[in-house]
Symmetry: C2
Subunit: 108 residues, 2 copies
DNA sequence: CGTGTATATGTCGAACATCGACACGTAAGC
DNA sequence: GCTTACGTGTCGATGTTCGACATATACACG
């Protein structure tokens, strides 16, 4: 069982919020683990600091509310700045993935 | 201009040695930058520590020699352990890339 | 002969992300 | 009352990468 790909957590969180709309940290984590088909873990030690970081940068915003399970939770939403940042992160990832793919496929 | 994708330097070095055979640090760095089409940089502050790390783990081995430009250089080769490790890193990367792709393409 | 440039290896401290373990609290079901 | 799943958060440790610096040599050119 591996960790989540280094440096992609911001992208994954941003995209998850973009896709699903407002969601709380625990829900984002569960969603990502489910997408990973159980082969990756996502520790709380990663997700919460990441959310705080993203909020400080203005890419997501938080508001307290009640979950479907009737608990006090923090709902995070993608901000307009965050949506733009998602595009940037996406492009950076595409570049990275393309480079790695090229190297892995190279034969000389 | 972005950096090389976090956490993939080992994989990229291992694969480069696998593809090209023995090569020195500077040459590996130049090769990778060339593969990146100039859109990524690779600082010496990354490549040399990485090579030392890989050698300590037994994945590559070093031997002094002369370059085509007639300079004293350290040639690194992939060890048998390193070749096995390359497969592992490859598989881990494939998992990561698949996860990110799945999240990025998800629509709900 | 002197100077500059590309080649080449390395070190150092700082910055940063992630992990694993821990602490705390609550709703619901039995 | 107890347990379990849910939920947020902190903390120290670890590891990677960066940017700046130090050092040295082969070769071309004036």
């Amino acid at each position: 069982m591996s960790d989540i790909p280094a440096g992609t957590l911001d992208l994954l969180i941003l995209k998850t919020l973009h896709t699903l709309g407002p969601r709380h940290g625990y829900g984002i984590a569960r969603r990502l683990e489910q997408m990973a088909d159980g082969v990756m873990r996502l520790s709380q030690g990663s997700i919460y600091p990441a959310l705080i970081r993203l909020e400080q940068r203005g890419w997501i915003s938080a508001r307290w509310g009640l979950s479907e399970t009737n608990r006090k939770v923090k709902f995070y939403s993608l901000t307009r700045t965050g949506a733009r940042r998602l595009d940037v992160e996406r492009a950076l990832w595409a570049q990275s993935a393309a480079l790695v793919a090229r190297v892995l496929e190279s034969e000389s």
